[in-house]
């Protein structure tokens, strides 16, 4: 079936909800306020860098429960699993999930114990809006904000209102959510609770579940208090507890072992701040944020009940910061801030349970200059000093020009960085089974090599000792140029062209070998890659109450060293003909690029919103084009995943096997009665698309029903 006929079928099949209508929901209003791009409140249309905003109405209409479900439907964002095939990380402008900073109310989320942050950890029920800034934002946020920033803005204390909702769906998935907000005089309070549980799902043929059953509970509370008319204090806390029941049949040297156990995640955040307005022109804020993340897995062999596997990881992050904003004049605004970050990690993965520590001091500034109402320039920079990898300066310059009311042109250039994470510094992993190799962090590898040498067990050393054990931050230089054309309200075209040049990419590399031929891997700054491409978004009000939108991203993500190698006739410049297995010369244009990146991704959405009659509905079609699977070490079901490279040149070229492109279709419809009672039904993955081997994080078709009740005294 061709792609076109699939879309046509979806359109005709889903046309039932196109009911008579009166009021249109435009997916992105330009006067909506966002805070992430400049750290202060700005109208979305006045920002000189690419920003995507997902508002509460859209979230409600989509009916999504977890953050990964929301983000996967946005142009240019791809949800990708981790190496083991599980988890839901975010790929942005072709960057791996490790390179996008995830914030909740402006403060970072931690718990990337394999590099990627699992977005399914985050409930959607308390989210007011989600802001996504594309392009490096290290000039304001420091490390990790290399590809961009996702900021989840949760609800704040407002007038008295509340919501309770319940939902049931496929895989015995239940979700109960409640929130309450109230204000009295100078005091504001907001509380949120969510309980989510699922039986998980199985994609394979054996008894192991792809995702094991789990329950998680999220609690959040916020209090605001106005001490004086000029001074606000606020305090908030959030906690997540997840318990997973695991049951696996493990194949160990052809013997099947039944293992059972538990996996737990605990995640908590506490935030406090004091804000004082000295005058209309000057305000300052002091804040402190602390967060803790812990996860543990225990598997026992059944029926004898001996410990088969244990793994624990615990991380903490504390950050005090002061910042100030000063309006010299309304056309000259400056902002500056300084703070300290204290991070610790304690885990069984580093060979001992010793606490590892790193500390960062930072300062940042930003200057906004509006020479005219149609032109503005924002410049800024941040200096970070880390106790392990040293200093880093990240500047950024952005410009916006409105030649007339229908056109906006934007350009921004900035530097981003990601400091080496704890895993790259301290990992102490020895695989006793498969060949007996080890992976050692850079802070311990030299000591181990010296030990082996003293014991006469060092077989070969592939680098000079002075070249091992030093890591620099990964860096990118990025240009984003784009614009928007708005022929009429609700109708726009938006284009952004991007180019990211990344240096010092950290990769594992064999650095030494023992006399018993066991490889010792460590981390090195090796690769230079680039990603470039184009993002296109358009929205059009089809008829009253119905708007359609189209999104598309073209992406090239390639390794510069591989390209140079192919040009010079090196090891990557050959491939084996798939039919004859004979070697042929590969040209640069036949090199496809980095694994796990689709050249084409896109989405097509129709939103229907009739406030008067209380109906809303949506049809969303998401496309991910073909991509190559990297060298994966087997997924959770014990299946070995054949890498896409089938002609053994170690790179992805057009003659390799690719994971096929696919469409997902999600539909939802809801009826609201008297603005209080809301009933919603929907289907995610309507056509039940599955790929057990390569996309284990994509469950099949899921049907759900939900009921919610809201009240408010406005």
């Amino acid at each position: 079936m061709s792609n076109r006929s699939i879309i046509l079928f979806i359109l005709t099949g889903c046309a039932w909800f196109a009911l008579p209508a009166q009021d249109s929901l435009s997916t992105q209003k330009l006067n909506e306020i966002v805070v992430t791009a400049t750290r202060n409140e700005k109208a979305l249309g006045a920002l000189p860098m690419p920003v995507t905003l997902i508002g509460k109405n859209q979230l409600k209409t989509m009916g999504s429960l977890r953050l990964n479900n929301v983000l996967t439907e946005q142009t240019g964002l791809v949800i990708v699993p981790q190496v083991n095939g599980l988890g839901n990380g975010l790929q942005l402008q072709g960057f791996d999930p490790d390179y996008t900073l995830i914030l909740i109310d402006g403060e970072p989320l931690i718990g990337r114990y394999t590099g990627s942050l699992d977005l399914s950890r985050l409930a959607v029920g308390n989210i007011k809006q989600i802001e996504i800034v594309k392009g490096p934002s290290s000039s304001l946020y420091g490390s990790e904000a290399l590809a961009g920033v996702v900021n989840i803005i949760t609800e704040r204390p407002a007038f008295t209102r509340g919501t309770v909702s319940a939902r049931y769906g496929t895989f015995n998935t239940t979700d109960f959510t409640g929130d309450l907000s109230t204000t009295a005089n100078k005091l504001g309070v907001y509380a949120f609770a969510n309980r989510y549980s699922t039986d998980g799902y199985s994609l394979g043929t054996n008894t192991n579940k792809t995702v094991s059953p789990f329950i998680n509970t999220t609690l959040q509370g916020k209090i605001n208090y106005k001490i004086t008319p000029q001074t606000d204090i606020s305090f908030s806390a959030r906690s997540l507890q997840e318990n997973q029941a695991q049951s696996f049949v493990v194949n160990s040297n052809s013997v099947e072992i039944q293992t059972m156990g538990t996996g737990t995640i605990h995640d908590s955040n506490i935030f406090g701040s004091v804000e004082h307005r000295f005058s209309k022109m000057l305000k300052a804020m002091a804040k402190i944020y602390t967060t803790h993340y812990a996860t543990a897995t225990n598997l026992n062999v059944k029926p004898v009940d001996t410990l088969y596997y244990h793994d624990d990881f615990s991380q903490s992050y504390t950050r005090p910061e002061i910042n100030t904003e000063y309006f010299i004049t309304p056309r000259h605004i400056v902002m500056a801030g300084t703070g300290t970050i204290l991070e610790t990690v304690q885990t069984s993965r580093y060979g001992d349970e010793n606490k590892r520590l790193q500390q960062t001091q930072y300062g940042f500034f930003q200057y906004e200059w509006l020479p005219s109402d149609r032109f503005q320039v924002i410049s800024g920079g941040r200096y970070d000093h880390n106790s392990i990898y040293g200093a880093q300066f990240s500047p950024k310059l952005s410009m916006l020009w409105n030649p007339d009311n229908r056109f906006t042109l934007k350009a921004s250039y900035g530097l981003g960085f990601k400091s080496p994470d704890f895993r790259q510094l301290y990992l102490n992993f020895n695989n006793t089974a498969a060949g007996g190799y080890s992976v050692l962090g850079t802070e311990i590898v030299v000591e181990r090599i010296n030990q082996l040498q003293a014991q006469g067990q060092l077989g070969a050393l592939f680098y000079d000792l002075s070249q091992i054990g030093k890591l620099q931050a990964e860096q990118s230089r990025a240009l984003n140029v784009g614009g928007r054309y708005t022929p009429s309200p609700g109708f726009y075209f938006d284009v952004n062209i991007f180019r990211n040049d990344i240096d010092n990419l950290i990769e594992t590399q064999v650095v030494a070998r023992t006399t018993a031929n066991q490889n010792i891997y460590s981390y090195k700054n090796l690769h230079r890659v680039y990603t470039d491409g184009l993002e296109f978004n358009a929205s059009y009000p089809l008829v009253k109450n119905i708007s359609a939108s189209l999104g598309y991203q073209l992406l090239y993500a390639k390794d510069k060293d591989v390209i140079a190698n192919i040009r010079s006739g090196g090891v990557y410049s050959y491939y084996r003909d798939p039919a004859t297995l004979e070697t042929k010369r590969l040209s640069v244009s036949e090199y496809f690029g980095l694994a796990n990146r689709s050249r084409h991704t896109g989405n097509f959405k129709i939103f229907y919103n009739n406030k008067e009659r209380g109906w809303d509905a949506s049809l969303r079609v998401i496309y991910r084009g073909k991509y190559g699977a990297g060298s994966l070490q087997g997924n959770v079901q014990g299946l070995t995943i054949p890498p896409s490279d089938r002609n053994n040149n170690g790179i992805l070229d057009v003659y390799d096997n690719f994971v096929s492109g696919y469409f997902l279709c999600n539909v939802s419809a809801a009826k609201t009665v008297h603005q209080k009672l809301r009933v919603q039904a929907g289907v995610d993955n309507l056509f039940n698309y599955k790929d057990a081997l390569y996309i284990p994080n994509l469950p099949g078709r899921q049907i759900y029903f939900s009921v919610s009740y809201s009240f408010s005294k406005k």
Partner: protein, 215 residues
């Protein structure tokens, strides 16, 4: 889009016609590339031990091959000059130095089979197991010679773009490309204890006239 393949076909047939004309006028006849299928290189008859990964039922003997006859030479002729290359597991020996009585030398070169129409005059080595750096003319080890070894799947794959050039004891040149290490060129898609490995399929061009022409 449609113009390109048509143009290509036209160009290729034109080139083929030109080549045919040239070879009619040429004195030396074009050499044929020969493919040798499934040369057994001491395959483990009982597969591999699930506990320690050791091969079961191997003889530890090399299988010898001669370019001039294009067939396998009996193992009892190991001390003669009748063979050029010996295959056992991933190791390929040449008949010289520490491996044999002859003076066969070899080298591994990066390129395509077709790109070596003339054998290089220099760069060949004999086997010399006393050498710590280069015990074999055709280096052993993953990524060093003709193959890569994937420790997660235990599979051996011949590296694309590695061509073995040989100068035999009789001073004749040959070029060889290894196509597959698995029986009937079927590499298992997943780890197995009976992978049917140690069966070489290779193609070669042998120049019997003593010149370096390998076209």
């Amino acid at each position: 889009m449609k113009i390109k393949p048509i143009l290509y076909v036209v160009l290729v047939s034109a080139a083929g016609w030109l080549a045919a004309c040239q070879s009619n006028n040429s004195v030396t006849p074009a050499l044929n590339a020969v493919t040798y299928n499934n040369l057994p290189a001491d395959p483990p008859s009982g597969g591999y031990n699930p506990t320690n990964g050791a091969p079961i039922g191997v003889t530890n003997k090399f299988t010898f091959f001669s370019f001039s006859t294009g067939v396998v030479v009996a193992n009892s002729d190991s001390a003669t000059n009748k063979w050029d290359l010996g295959f056992r597991g991933t190791t390929i020996i040449v008949n010289s130095g520490t491996s044999g009585s002859g003076s066969t030398t070899a080298q591994v070169i990066t390129g395509t089979f077709e790109s070596y129409n003339t054998a290089p005059a220099t760069g060949y080595s004999p086997d010399n197991r006393a050498s710590a750096n280069a015990p074999y003319a055709i280096p052993t080890g993953s990524g060093k010679g003709w193959y890569n070894y994937d420790y997660t799947t235990n599979l051996i794959t011949p590296i694309a773009g590695k061509i073995i050039l040989v100068k035999t004891t009789a001073g004749k040149y040959a070029k060889l490309e290894i196509i597959s290490y698995y029986k009937n060129q079927t590499m298992p898609s997943a780890p197995t204890l009976t992978p049917n490995d140690r069966y070489y399929t290779f193609r070669y061009v042998y120049q019997p006239d003593g010149s370096t022409n390998l076209k």
